[in-house]
């Protein structure tokens, strides 16, 4: 009776609702993302969902395409005056969402703001900016503190977005909720934790989007995202998890996109702690692990095991040239014995990400076979970072995304001495590596730069401060009638060019 009451109630509700499906012409693109943006201030974040919305709201001086080629953005052309001086000629007649014209002063304001504490999260990119010189309303010269050729491509990152000085100053602390940019979309409403709605900016300088409204919902549950695609509640959904790949591929109304991502998940060693300070111990542990199997079991056919620290799509990568790692338990035992390590007990730390926990679980089982007893600690993000900062860890699983596709950013943030206290959680401090990194930055693109990074990758592999676990893929699903969309390797997917067929 109670049950049937339930069902009757549901039926009544449903009959009433199912009829009222939307019949209007398609002028809205609905995207199911995993998380909501944290802020729409381009320099107050360093997370992918926020970067994605900034990409639609703002423009940068230069654009980078999927292959890493630079094309003009707000700057029509540019000139490298020297290693530390880049001159940009700005596009004329570009309007902000508030109607003002974009001028050199705004570019200067945007960049200099990024060098203050407001830009602490993207300091990696902005710290080298010395000054921005306003030559005239449509010309600026960016002065760097020291030569760094990786800087230029970073300008295409969200941090390089040009914002409106007046609007930003007026909004003060609440700017992150009231963005004003020059991008093809402007913000209509944002319900935090749920969705934001953008609308086509009719005065956009470039090609205008073919649809009026862009709605991005945050749907944390992978199953729910796939269902949203299947039921037509979403036009585009990402990321898609491995167990739903086939489901989307086999669905004739849907299209699955896969693209290698510029990211590396790794099992790091705390190299300041005994016995992990010994490269032989690190190598022994590496030998004990069937990394290929672990990656396959945890990520289930998505991505691949990296060969080096620099992801394949980033220039000068030799990621795909390294032969696959082979597990050798006997060798591992011997190396461990040679290093004089007995009865090793260790902790493997990870955050809650399922695949990482899964990997840790398998690593634990495999280490057991060479007599290493390990305990897994799954920490919630804040506690995890804090613990790493305090150097209490042994092994830990973490990932690194090269949002800016320059090899420098793939390595420096993880292993350079200056990154200790920031994102260098292996606490690697290797003068030789630091020197190579310096040299790599000071060279313009070319064979010489390529050689340095190749050498660097092999050197890191030999030192083994971390075991590479996984190069991820950007996987997205769309409705069949959605065209002009392709996931990007840095996960900053763009919806500017999407149209319906």
């Amino acid at each position: 009776m109670k049950k049937s009451g339930f069902v009757v109630l549901l039926m009544v509700l449903l009959v009433g609702l199912c009829g009222a499906a939307d019949a209007a012409a398609k002028d809205i693109l609905i995207v199911a993302d995993q998380y909501d943006a944290t802020t729409m201030d381009p320099i107050a974040h360093n997370d992918v969902p926020s970067s994605r919305v900034c990409y639609e709201l703002y423009d940068t001086l230069v654009f980078l395409d999927n292959e890493g080629n630079v094309s003009p953005g707000l700057a029509e052309s540019w000139e490298f005056l020297s290693g530390t001086e880049y001159k940009f000629n700005l596009r004329k007649g570009v309007k902000f969402h508030n109607g003002e014209e974009m001028k050199a002063a705004d570019v200067r304001y945007s960049m200099m703001r990024a060098t203050t504490d407001a830009g602490a999260k993207i300091a990696t990119y902005s710290q080298n900016v010395k000054d921005v010189e306003v030559v005239d309303d449509y010309t600026v010269i960016v002065h760097l503190k020291k030569i760094d050729y990786s800087f230029f491509s970073s300008l295409a990152h969200s941090w390089g977005s040009v914002i409106n000085e007046k609007a930003t100053e007026a909004a003060g602390d609440s700017y992150g909720m009231n963005p004003v940019g020059t991008g093809p979309f402007k913000l209509v409403s944002w319900q935090k934790g749920n969705k934001y709605i953008l609308e086509r900016f009719e005065d956009y300088w470039g090609p205008k989007p073919k649809y009026k409204t862009l709605e991005v919902r945050s749907v944390p549950e992978p199953t729910s995202r796939t269902i949203a695609l299947e039921t037509g509640d979403a036009d585009i959904a990402f990321p898609i998890v491995h167990n739903d790949l086939k489901r989307i591929e086999e669905n004739e109304n849907l299209v699955l996109f896969r693209r290698p991502q510029n990211s590396t998940a790794y099992i790091g060693f705390n190299v300041t702690k005994k016995p992990f300070d010994d490269v032989n111990v690190r190598q022994a542990i590496y030998a004990a692990l069937d990394i290929v199997g672990i990656q396959a079991a945890s990520y289930r056919g998505v991505g691949k095991v990296p060969g080096t620290l620099i992801p394949s799509a980033v220039k000068y990568s030799i990621n795909d040239e390294i032969p696959p790692h082979v597990q050798d338990v006997e060798k591992a035992k011997k190396m461990l014995a040679d290093a004089g390590v007995k009865d090793l007990k260790l902790e493997i730390w990870t955050n809650e990400r399922k695949e990482r926990v899964d990997s840790a679980t398998i690593v634990q089982a495999q280490l057991d076979e060479i007599g290493i007893k390990s305990e897994i600690k799954v920490l919630e993000w804040g506690a995890y970072l804090n613990g790493l900062m305090e150097k209490k860890h042994d092994l830990f699983i973490l990932g690194w995304v090269s949002t800016v596709p320059d090899p420098n950013f793939a390595v420096s943030g993880l292993l350079e001495t200056t990154a200790i206290g920031a994102s260098n959680y292996t606490f690697t401090s290797d003068p030789k590596l630091d020197e190579m990194l310096d040299k790599g930055r000071s060279l313009p693109d070319g064979d010489e730069r390529a050689a340095i990074y190749k050498e660097m990758q092999l050197y890191i592999n030999a030192q083994l401060p971390m075991i590479y676990l996984h190069n991820d893929e950007s996987i997205a699903g769309t409705q069949k009638n959605v065209k002009g969309f392709a996931p990007r390797s840095n996960e900053i997917h763009s919806f500017r060019g999407v149209y319906f067929e």
Binding site: M1, F6, N46, A120, I122, D173, A228, A422
Partner: protein, 309 residues
């Protein structure tokens, strides 16, 4: 009566200060440096120091707490989110409607189903209907909401494709979370109604009514129900209060952008002002709902009204 309300609200103040103190202490003990979390892995040491200074985190614990209370009491300012920089109140108010809707929906479902089931069960005590209802109620009570939520998604979203598993914008999308959330309340209200009715039905004044020659239906629906309602109303109020704050799991399964999820996310992001403000807000809401219940109580029960002076 008004005096009573004012007194109750005044009484809330020390309780809230106590709550604030507890939360403050808990957060103080929580591992994870908010400055580091907020500013990111690449933040420089000076930026972090500046942040800590600006947020008053360099001061001793008690001074931090004192400042917080001082600002909250004198200016009604409970701080701004570390992450969005918006006032905490705005953050909460942005999420509260969803939670309120969810809780209200759930409690309405619970009353609509639970009350009649409980009454029928009591009238037909020991019948098959009664036994089945009680077993179902117990199952409902024992069902972990996160499991029920998954089962509902599996049934209604995956297999039947009737209802969306997430999104809280449309009425359609609100059905599943409300149902999942209401299961426990339905069971509790059913059980409470039954036992309350059974107790009342045995009361002397019901016998008096019978001795007057009154019809059984009038006895049940007028005499008994009115008296039985007193504990039921309390329970509904308590349940509603619980739902307001206890929807955390439901909100996370169905991606409802509510206060509960805001709390969990803020704890994870170490956005302490939001956590503090959120817990305080929930405590206030909880207490106000309880006050409301007490007032409703007086409306139903004249004996209690007499005590509210």
């Amino acid at each position: 009566m008004i005096l009573y309300i004012v007194r109750r609200i005044l009484f809330l103040i020390p309780v809230l200060i106590g709550v604030a103190f507890c939360v403050f202490t808990l957060l103080y003990l929580t591992p994870g440096d908010p400055a580091r979390m907020v500013l990111g892995e690449m933040a420089t040491e000076s930026a972090i120091q500046e942040f800590r200074r600006k947020e008053g985190m360099d001061k001793p614990f008690l001074i931090q707490f004192g400042n917080y209370i001082y600002k909250a009491v004198t200016k009604g300012d409970i701080g701004s989110s570390y992450i969005t920089k918006r006032p905490v109140m705005n953050e909460i108010m942005a999420t509260f409607p969803s939670t309120l809707k969810l809780a209200a929906f759930a409690i309405v479902i619970a009353v609509i189903i639970g009350l009649p089931c409980g009454i029928l069960s009591a009238i037909k005590q020991y019948s098959i209907f009664d036994t089945l209802t009680m077993i179902f109620a117990m199952i409902g009570l024992s069902m972990p909401v996160f499991w029920l939520g998954l089962l509902l998604i599996l049934l209604f979203s995956v297999y039947l494709r009737w209802l969306p598993p997430s999104g809280f914008d449309t009425f359609k999308a609100m059905i599943l979370p409300s149902l999942a959330l209401s299961a426990q309340s339905i069971s509790m209200i059913t059980r409470m109604t039954r036992s309350s009715m059974l107790e009342v039905v045995r009361a002397d004044y019901i016998r008096t009514a019978r001795a007057k020659g009154q019809k059984e239906s009038v006895i049940i629906w007028v005499h008994a129900l009115h008296n039985a309602l007193i504990p039921i109303v309390t329970l509904c109020g308590l349940q509603f209060g619980q739902l307001l704050a206890g929807a955390i799991l439901t909100e996370s399964i169905f991606a409802v952008p509510g206060v509960g999820r805001l709390m969990v996310e803020s704890i994870k992001m170490r956005d302490y002002p939001v956590v503090q403000g959120g817990v305080l807000f929930v405590a206030v809401a909880f207490s106000l709902v309880n006050l409301l219940v007490d007032l409703l109580y007086a409306y139903i029960d004249p004996r209690i009204k007499a005590q509210y002076r």
